[in-house]
Symmetry: C2
Amino acid sequence: MEKKEYQSEEEFLKNYDSSQFEKLSLTTDTLIFSVADEETGNYRKLPEKKFSVLLVKRDSYPFKDKWCLPGGFMRMEETIDEAAKRILKVETNLQDIYMEQLYTFGELDRDPRMRIVSVSYIALVDKNRLKEHLSKNASWFQMDILEEEREIQVTFDNGNESFSITIEKKLKNPTSDRYEYIVKKNTHLAFDHAKVIVCGVERLKNKVGYTDIVFNMMPKYFTLGELQQVYEVILGKKLLDPAFRRMIQDKVEKTDKIKTGGGHRPSVLFQYKKK
Amino acid sequence: MEKKEYQSEEEFLKNYDSSQFEKLSLTTDTLIFSVADEETGNYRKLPEKKFSVLLVKRDSYPFKDKWCLPGGFMRMEETIDEAAKRILKVETNLQDIYMEQLYTFGELDRDPRMRIVSVSYIALVDKNRLKEHLSKNASWFQMDILEEEREIQVTFDNGNESFSITIEKKLKNPTSDRYEYIVKKNTHLAFDHAKVIVCGVERLKNKVGYTDIVFNMMPKYFTLGELQQVYEVILGKKLLDPAFRRMIQDKVEKTDKIKTGGGHRPSVLFQYKKK
DNA sequence: CTAATAGTGTCTATTAGACAGTATGTT
DNA sequence: AACATACTGTCTAATAGACACTATTAG
């Protein structure tokens, strides 16, 4: 290929041949998390909260009949963020929800069809939107996360079907907080989505500590008890009431609404307060 | 396009036409940060530390003669991480250094030639490697960062040339820590690299607080004074000695080596201690 | 001796963890 | 009345911020 000398940027661009570099397809995959209520038999008890993720059943090859994250191919006329939003709407009917970029996965063999790089996103919705009309292949799965030493086990359950994955975490570098995720067991999830889910769960756990993103999973009005449950479910541990209330005191404001009917003392409803 | 029914995954893959989706080029761009010594006239004083980034002068269109981050096109037979490493070696002769993925930029107009998505990386090297033989277009720039309210100004200086950029930070969402970066002033940097640099600088500032990545910018043996200077330069503020020493006490271990010759009390040399 | 960094002791203010107690609905 | 959650007071432990002091070299 002969190198030509151009006199200006305009001239260069007019003559530019964009076919000279190898090209590939780019997809977005989105982790939609929510914290769902699960009714307990006891009329006094608050419904238990369950950390949930939305999965879609593949109806074609590759990975036919396996579960995967809602995702699809980016188009040339849209940004990556726009692609993620569009695809989410098409696949799940969800829109206007909190989204942020998680990580870009580019292993060679992550898709058996061809070389595909995937930009993953985290999306958060409040539990009321679990009931919105989803497209027919989408389903919410409750997750139970068991983390011990360097191994993470996640059990998924959508009421009908249940399965689990096991992932080993390995620090990429002793100085950093970046992990390599090694799939030890995975029978039901397509592509590298087992890794993506674990990566997203860990990121969410971390971010809950230093941002207000949990409020994207809350309805407009909520009690502090409910809010605390959501934190507890994401962090996977119980929190002490006074410490929790101190921590969130500047993030919320009291409303004049009250929630009654619980078989116990009524609770004041709060709402999110921006800083 | 007629939809065919396949009997198995193998059969499907054999018949798969990968040309049906639009494709694009993917590049990696790497922020290589270091903290350089700058000699002061005073024989007693420690050399001042300067936060530095490696830039490359473009020798062809587009953005001919502008500065940019070392980067290039990913190939089909390598992962994104591998591409970033390969390109770094070619463009700067640096290898075996700490690298981590930063963010994936995919605005429509970030490259005037065609649609290109770029996966950016952060790389860290210690000051001694500043002197390694760089390729002819590469140059280290000292950065002075001025952050006030929502505006960030960065001044770049490589000894020969000096310029500055101004970027406005805007929270994407009140609940999160993700910013949109709006370029207010930029005369010397190519593509969207002004944004990438600011994004990387902020990420580094944050990560310094909760990881040990600074040690990737340190030589094997260092004094606690030098280490403190590096933290101070990255964070952009002075730290109190006792607090600093408390903070790093479990991250370092004493050696039997001592640094003398400074016109003041000699200092014990330490090294990084993995957890 | 002096300027400069090296290194430590300690007081205080703030924050985090823990526990215990009171309050108030529904059935 | 009993249960379950709502909500608060307070003690203590741990941590962070601030200052002051001593130590030790080259010139």
